[in-house]
Symmetry: C2
Amino acid sequence: MSAPHDPQPWPLLSSRQGPDLVICRARFDRLRNPRTGAAFDRLVLEAPDWVNVIAVTPEREVVLVKQYRFGTGAVALEIPGGVLDPGEDSRAAAERELREESGFTAQRWRYLGSVQANPAFLTNTCHHWLAEDARRTESELALDEGEDIAVELVPAADLPAYVADGRIAHSLVVAALARWIDLRA
Amino acid sequence: MSAPHDPQPWPLLSSRQGPDLVICRARFDRLRNPRTGAAFDRLVLEAPDWVNVIAVTPEREVVLVKQYRFGTGAVALEIPGGVLDPGEDSRAAAERELREESGFTAQRWRYLGSVQANPAFLTNTCHHWLAEDARRTESELALDEGEDIAVELVPAADLPAYVADGRIAHSLVVAALARWIDLRA
């Protein structure tokens, strides 16, 4: 094993804008590897921050949303979440996404932490919020034409089994739930 | 609240290839929302499956790798992982990535499950493996010119604190660790 060293930031040599991918923008950075001196082009996808919300009812049920997902081409079960609007803070986005996607609102909010979506090529962070005493207060979901969502309530105690058997499989949902419950099968 | 319904798959109307982004390929699918009848273009990034590995030494230390990440523009602390080669199964990829990135190998392997990277726009799955009795058996890391990695051993018992304070922040690392330890702060 060669002598341990501390990996350093790679100097940025140049950057060129790539295609607009609607939900993110591609950028190609040219960087120098400080270990080898060689230069490389690396993809970066610039995306706004995301948020997701664990909303728990007084009966200890968690609010899940079911929708068709285009990446996997399948209906998925997730906690509510979405993209921060420009200038919006993550708490406001969490309240909005919960209300719009599920019709639920809550009085008690607690920040659970955040993860980097994928530091290898995505620039953004996903914030996790816990909403307690969540209740259905809206008579209709606020879905736009491009959404089709159904709400499903699942006992909190059942969630580890949902993760273990893949009924809940979204990495960012698992990362959020891990801040709040023990997910070991 | 309108009558509950079960979200259905969206019929695919057409699909066009987008730019090659090196680590994935963009595709634009045109789909019809079965709820509203309206048609939408949606981004899909086609990517090969990924794997990551929790490797634990006989002293209950976990093998972490430190490297500069281009998406976030910062040095990150993660478990070893990477992309499956064509035709490679996830166990073989886990063994290879662990060996190449850290110089460690292990005899005892256990599959911990998987997550979908991001079902909203990514097609792929990340597989999680646990490698027990991991030992440093390689005298050199097998890094290519485009990598710069340092190995760091951290007591397993300290990992929840690393996640809580953001020293470990990669969503897929958190998702893997949650299968093996209780991450609640």
